[in-house]
Symmetry: C2
Subunit: 237 residues, 2 copies
Amino acid sequence: MQPSTLSPVTNHLIDSLPRQVRGSFLADCEAIDLAFGEVLAEPGERISHVYFPLNSFISLIASLSDGDRLEVAMIGSEGMFGMPLILGVEESPWHALVQGAGPALRIPAAVFGRHLARSPALQALLKRYFYVLMDQLSRVAACTHFHQVEGRLARWLLMTQDRAHSDQLHLTHEFLAMMLGVRRAGITLAATVLQTRRLIRYHRGAITVLDRAGLIEASCGCYAADRRIYRQVIIEA
Amino acid sequence: MQPSTLSPVTNHLIDSLPRQVRGSFLADCEAIDLAFGEVLAEPGERISHVYFPLNSFISLIASLSDGDRLEVAMIGSEGMFGMPLILGVEESPWHALVQGAGPALRIPAAVFGRHLARSPALQALLKRYFYVLMDQLSRVAACTHFHQVEGRLARWLLMTQDRAHSDQLHLTHEFLAMMLGVRRAGITLAATVLQTRRLIRYHRGAITVLDRAGLIEASCGCYAADRRIYRQVIIEA
DNA sequence: TGCCGTCGGTGCGCCAGGATACACACGCAG
DNA sequence: CTGCGTGTGTATCCTGGCGCACCGACGGCA
């Protein structure tokens, strides 16, 4: 959630830990690189590691019994993957798909559990992050139902831009369609509108955000709402 | 989640507590009656009490900045209201609306916090419930987006039946429309189909479930999925 | 008994988005 | 430099659900 042109090599949650805790926690983390398309978890599968993205980011995807899929959350350097462990459940209810390649920190689930048990500060922080996530899940349900593709697309691009820490995104219409749960042609239409309005430019899978403010204007209010809650609960707490 | 014709005066979460913990917890609970339409919380508002419905039930409703609203979860004797407190946040992100009048137990937020801090068993149980809720929120997002009114209506009636512990439900089409985020006329259409198929009967706000198995058949798979996760994580754990 | 508020059935025009399909354009690899 | 795969533009038809509106029916209440 930093200005988009910076490239922090930090994770905001880890950064927010008290110095003492952070040191000991980081000592057990391993720096890795996430590759685009990598699957970190499948629904019902055991979570092996907790991930803290740096410049990378991860989509959480809900899938229904009939096979339909929808992205319900996105995790970048402002968050973490592995929340169920905080609740004492070792399985993921989602597909966790690496959507933006890049560096991340990870820690084995068991080790994570030990840190959690030992550090109330860590626990408190991650619980608050959990609250944010829960709030966002609720909002996604309503937003996906009520808002139209154009606004949702704008919102999604902004979220991606925040997490990629870059104005250059690598996304095909096909991929966007999967994430938003709509047809590819629907994305083409909405994207054309945004491009005509000079808010973005794109060409064969490379999207550039030209006018961030305009994009916020074009997005549904849910982008702003998400950020507001994150600020309230994580940053100002 | 008991057979629908029974009228348990227990809450499954409280029931699942170890005897010791339960006694001390119950001692601080107050038995009350929830009235239909009562609002237990508004978004951004402090949560004053934690509620454990017995025969009553509560809807959690997400509302968007532009005013659209959607029910995202339903809480009956299988659950509780006040989850954010478990995460150390004292606000509700939802409207909490009493949807089925009846008895409930409640406990002041502060007292609840003390019990939580003292009892790891209580904490573990409620965290697991939280996991279930999170899973359901994800599913609702996808279900609301992909599934049609008829299946969603059937699902919703089943969920209500479970929580009301009765085959007789008091719901107008108008109200159902609000919950599912569709037009009243859409509900009329779907309800007519269900009635024609002899799955339900209704008359001026009184709906009777005639054929539960058939209704499950008619519902989208999400009803079954919700129950499966609850069983896995709460009952069998 | 008659009024009126609530509930539910229905009709109409409209539109977003679904399914399907085809065509073109760019760019890399051979 | 040519061919093919991938990414994008576009067209057609279809459907589910929306907005709006009206009406009939039931039932509680005076």
